[in-house]
């Protein structure tokens, strides 16, 4: 594989040096972590930066931790790290379910969760799940640190709230205050690795409270506030599920592209919302299917 554009490559010794370098070079510089998006874009000449700043070595960006009742996903935490984390498996199973549906083993071993939301393509898998968890993006730049709620992070396809010279250091995912269970559903063209044609994340809390978010059916990963309001405090009857599915479709703006028609996306979001709600509620009640199955493919008990 060869890359046509010429660029400088730097691997600073410290994070502050990296930030200084990024601040100096502004939009001409790109951060390199897993590189699973960036290197492909370079090869296809979709981006032409002057400088790549490699952050792979920084210890403070590595790993998954727990602090102030929140999961801390360092900027270098890969999807495989998420899958292997006991902490995630125990307290954030929805995050784990999503990570298991990202691409393939090889990609998951390199691709970072933070990179996924920095690339911010409409079909990014982490988006809807971080949305329902009310995650927070932690950014450091030449002017210090700031926190961006995930709801304000995505601005458009491949556009985020990051500013030139800034770097995302971590994403924190607050531990749900109440007992919760979730379901991530990804519509794919086959069982193998695929980008989402559509995705739905549901987080159900005891007390009949629900959060929903959608991927690949709007310019960014979006929550479904009207559907959430409809469901609040209600028992999930067949009629209500039906209604919720239909309302969810009103909260999305799918387009037709090479992966799906907007008609199929809409129809499937309706089905996905029903199945995800049902599965999440069953899991909350302690009788749902194990995390990790794709309810678009498998029968659920």
């Amino acid at each position: 594989m060869s890359i046509a554009c010429e660029f400088d490559y730097r691997k600073p010794k410290t994070l502050s040096k990296a930030i200084k370098l990024l601040a100096k070079r502004g939009r001409d510089a790109r951060v390199l972590a897993g590189g699973t998006d960036l290197v492909g874009w370079l090869r296809d000449s979709l981006v032409a930066p002057d400088l790549l700043v490699d952050i792979k070595g920084f210890e403070e960006l590595k790993g998954i931790g727990f602090k102030n009742r929140a999961l801390v996903l360092g900027a270098l935490a890969t999807f495989s790290d998420v899958l292997e984390s006991e902490l995630v498996a125990q307290h954030f199973p929805l995050l784990r379910e999503m990570a298991g549906m990202v691409a393939s083993n090889g990609v998951r071993n390199r691709a970072t969760v933070v990179g996924n939301i920095c690339s911010a393509v409409p079909c990014c898998d982490a988006g809807p799940v971080l949305q329902v968890y009310n995650a927070v993006v932690h950014v450091r730049g030449p002017n210090g640190k700031r926190r961006v709620p995930i709801g304000q992070w995505f601005l458009g396809p491949r556009k985020t709230a990051i500013r030139p010279g800034e770097i995302v250091t971590s994403v924190t995912v607050p531990l749900p205050a109440k007992k919760a269970a979730g379901c991530f559903v990804k519509l794919k063209r086959y069982r193998g690795e695929d980008l989402a044609q559509a995705s739905v994340a549901v987080l159900a809390f005891s007390g009949r409270e629900y959060r929903l978010a959608f991927g690949a059916v709007a310019p960014i990963a979006v929550r479904g506030p009207r559907t959430e309001a409809l469901l609040k405090g209600q028992k999930l009857s067949a009629g209500l599920l039906e209604e919720a599915g239909k309302l969810a479709v009103e909260e999305i703006v799918p387009i037709t592209d090479i992966r799906s028609t907007k008609e199929y996306r809409s129809l499937m979001v309706e089905v996905m919302v029903r199945r995800a709600l049902k599965t999440a509620a069953a899991r909350l009640a302690g009788r749902g299917p194990a995390y990790g199955i794709n309810v678009m493919e498998e029968d659920t008990p």
Partner: protein, 804 residues
């Protein structure tokens, strides 16, 4: 038999499993290896006004920049319509216009971007109905001047590169005789081969003018032949060209003939002395080798109440792309066989090869049969339903049998199609309705038959050399290609059976045209049959020579001598046994102390001397174009989620009459692999072009081939063996066949499960879900183009109906 019919371990297994097996890109050419980057057309059709290479040439590390001016020659296997580099005009997006040769790939890529090509864009034709209009824009205005094989019939000053007409019986009388007639249109888009190994070739012209190519190819000798023809103006002859082909990482027809390889042959001449590598990216693999051609087909079929077919009129318009040098022969093959494996007294087939400004079409496993069998086998289920006959019983009643008259007048070879139908039906429990566990799911069953013959020139030949070593082991040198199918092992088994030497003591090498015996190409599922015959002949010659020398020394009657357990034995003297290793190199010592004999060497060859391509162009009657057909049947148990359209293959069964399975495990491998490849074309693969003719998904991100997760729950191969009289130990071809019925079994199962009849491929979950809700996929699919025409297939005008 001791070795034939056994699932012998592949002789290349250890090498491949350990990673020791070399492929073209693995070969080390040292630090002087040069790398080429291709400058490609961004237009579907344009005049090349000017090519400015001055900036590219100045980049340090660039050795040479080559354009069409340097090699103003055409090439092609069956029709000389393809250019080494586009000259005056480009005809598809991605066509090679120039090449930059540099010391490393990055420099080549950077410099290639500095080649400035000035184009004058022209109108283009992507759509068959545009291409066939009265005043259509011509993709090849010079068509009438192109050289081509004797069995092609281009129509000058049109986009019709070839039109195969087959006429048998009286078609109108056939329809009058029918109690029920059904006519409908089916469409199949283009597909890509998706071999794991992309095309790669290294060319080197030494300072004496000797051109050697290391090529990832199914066709070393045919490549040499095509290179020699194309480069003849530069003084090159066959004896100056040598093609070496190491292992190939998947061919499926995509590495047959010559496509991108011509570039390396030319570039090597441009930089004499140094080797130069041309290595396709995955994207180029999709758009600048061959693609399976798209087709729109109209079928009119008449049947009597008892189910017997009275007539088939089959009109097929093929989107063959910008160059048809190989693809037109796919069109030809279908034109001879588009009745399917049935007894049809009255036949009218028009198979029309049409130029468009899309990437070149060409050979792909199945060679057109998958494409036409989708419509035909769908149609048969529908017409059977109309007359109230079970579709399996309908196929039984019409199944072709040995001696039946083929569409072109010759007679059918031995086959047991009815047996294949019955065994398949039993295995899928045809007629037994199955219930899905989930309320949103339904289960349907689908059934289809298939047939296919190799499409070969009438004088396509195979040859083999065989020799012994001191330890009694054997070397066989042939030029068929090991493309994963197990060919080397099968050749070893055939020789083993004759010589009584176990296959693991037989080395069969990949080809080098200087040293190995001739083989036309490894295509058409014919090498086991054709080359197998040559190897068998060589082994028999070696056996005769061994017996001769024992006879000379010991005086035993030749008819008493035979081979067993790597020894020559004698029926008249049971205690005599002479091990091969004791005489196959240095002969046998006589009582006088001298030696008789010497190294045992043998050769064998095979050419089907009974074939001819001399059929009447208006009817195809009179020739014998096909050597034999392999037939079979397949069935599927398919679960459909009515909410999502998603399908799961619960079980798929395929019965095929292979004559004799030389190696049953390898036949089963063909069934599994072919079925998966076919199911992918039915369920997942979905090619898309922009309205400007640019391929939008030349990658596995958006062009989906199955992964291990997408395997059917069960695949059941059924091997039937009705010997082929002219095949080695009775074997006939099997390879392509196993993917042919995949699409129609799925379409028929969807109909059985849901009542929905879909008449266009692919049968994606999306299409099924939408159509189940009454939404026509074509109405919502957007402006990307998968099929070779826009608009409603039902309104497509098959002009061929009115003419002829």
């Amino acid at each position: 038999m001791k070795f034939v019919g056994q699932s012998a371990t592949r002789i290349d297994e250890r090498e491949k499993v350990t990673g020791a097996a070399p492929y073209a890109d693995d070969l080390d050419f040292g630090p002087n290896l040069l790398h080429a980057e291709i400058v490609e057309s961004p237009h579907a059709h344009a005049i090349i006004k000017k090519i400015d290479v001055s900036r590219a040439r100045k980049v340090p590390g660039v050795v040479k920049v080559v354009t069409g001016k340097d090699f103003p020659y055409t090439f092609g296997l069956y029709m000389q319509d393809r250019f080494i580099f586009a000259r005056d005009r480009v005809r598809f997006v991605g066509e090679q216009v120039a090449a930059v040769i540099a010391r490393d790939p990055v420099t080549a890529k950077r410099a290639a971007r500095l080649v400035k090509v000035t184009y004058e864009p022209l109108p283009f034709v992507l759509d068959l109905k545009e291409a066939l209009k009265e005043d259509a824009l011509l993709v090849h205005p010079d068509l009438k001047n192109y050289g081509h094989c004797a069995w092609f019939f281009p129509v000058p000053d049109t986009n019709i590169a070839h039109w195969r007409k087959t006429r048998k019986g009286d078609i109108e009388a056939g329809f009058r005789e029918a109690d029920t007639v059904l006519e409908d249109t089916y469409t199949v888009p283009r597909y890509a081969h998706c071999a794991i190994e992309p095309h790669v070739i290294v060319g080197q012209c030494d300072l004496s003018g000797r051109l050697t190519l290391w090529s990832s190819s199914q066709s070393p000798h045919t490549q040499r032949h095509v290179f020699a023809a194309a480069l003849a103006p530069l003084g090159l002859k066959h004896q100056d060209i040598r093609v070496i082909t190491p292992y190939v990482g998947g061919g499926f027809g995509g590495k047959a003939g010559v496509s991108m390889e011509i570039i390396a042959a030319a570039l090597a001449l441009a930089v004499k002395g140094a080797p130069v590598k041309v290595r396709w990216t995955r994207e180029q693999e999709f758009y600048n080798t061959y693609q399976r051609q798209g087709v729109i087909a109209r079928i009119k079929m008449g049947v009597k109440k008892d189910g017997s077919i009275t007539a088939i009129e089959h009109t097929l318009h093929w989107d063959a792309g910008a160059y048809v040098e190989y693809g037109a022969n796919v069109v030809n093959a279908v034109g001879l066989s588009a009745t399917g494996p049935y007894r049809v007294p009255n036949v009218k087939i028009d198979s029309v090869c049409v130029y468009t400004n899309l990437p070149p079409g060409g050979p792909y496993r199945g060679f057109g049969y998958s494409e036409f069998m989708f419509g035909l086998e769908s149609h048969i289920n529908r017409i059977a339903k109309m007359i109230g006959l079970d579709p399996v019983e309908f196929r039984r009643r019409n199944a072709i049998r040995e001696g039946d008259t083929l569409p072109y007048g010759a007679h059918m070879n031995p086959c047991a199609l009815v047996d294949a139908i019955d065994k398949t039906a039993a295995e899928i429990e045809w007629g037994k309705k199955e219930e899905a566990a989930a309320p949103n799911k339904v289960i349907g069953k689908g059934f289809a038959c298939f047939w296919k013959a190799p499409a070969m020139p009438p004088n396509a030949a195979s040859a083999a050399f065989l020799k012994f070593s001191e330890d009694g082991s054997v070397n066989i040198s042939v030029s068929g290609m090991e493309i994963g199918q197990g060919y080397l092992t099968v050749m070893a088994q055939i020789a083993a059976e004759v010589l009584t030497v176990p296959p693991e003591k037989i080395r069969v090498e990949t080809p080098d045209t200087d040293r190995n015996a001739y083989e036309w190409q490894t295509v058409g599922s014919h090498v086991t049959w054709g080359c197998g015959n040559a190897v068998k002949a060589a082994a028999e010659e070696a056996r005769a020579k061994m017996i001769e020398v024992v006879h000379r020394v010991h005086g035993f009657a030749k008819e008493d001598l035979y081979l067993e357990d790597e020894r020559v034995k004698c029926r008249a003297k049971p205690d005599f046994a002479l091990a091969f290793k004791d005489f196959v190199i240095n002969g046998i010592q006589t009582p006088r102390g001298n030696f008789l004999g010497g190294p045992i060497l043998a050769s064998g060859m095979f050419m089907p001397e009974f074939t001819s391509a001399t059929g009447d162009p208006e009817t195809s009657q009179g020739g014998h174009p096909n050597v034999h057909y392999t037939v079979g049947a397949a069935g599927i148990v398919l679960e459909v989620d009515k909410e999502t359209g998603k399908m799961r293959v619960r079980k798929v069964v395929l019965a095929v009459d292979v004559g004799q399975a030389i190696n049953p495990d390898l036949v089963k491998g063909q069934v599994v692999g072919g079925m998966l490849q076919g199911l992918a074309t039915a369920l997942y693969e979905d090619i898309r072009y922009s309205p400007a003719g640019k391929l939008l998904n030349p990658n596995f991100t958006d062009y989906k081939i199955p992964t291990a997760l997408d395997l059917p729950d069960a695949i059941v191969p059924i091997i039937i063996e009705t010997p082929q009289p002219d095949g080695p130990f009775g074997a006939r071809g099997v390879g392509e066949h196993t993917m042919i019925p995949s699409a129609p079994i799925v379409a028929n199962a969807i109909e059985d499960a849901t009542g929905l009849r879909i008449k266009s491929l692919p049968l994606t979950a999306e299409k099924v879900a939408l159509e189940l809700r009454g939404i026509r996929y074509d109405d919502v699919k957007g402006e990307t183009m998968g099929l070779c025409f826009m608009g409603d297939p039902q309104k497509y005008a098959f002009f061929a109906k009115s003419k002829a």
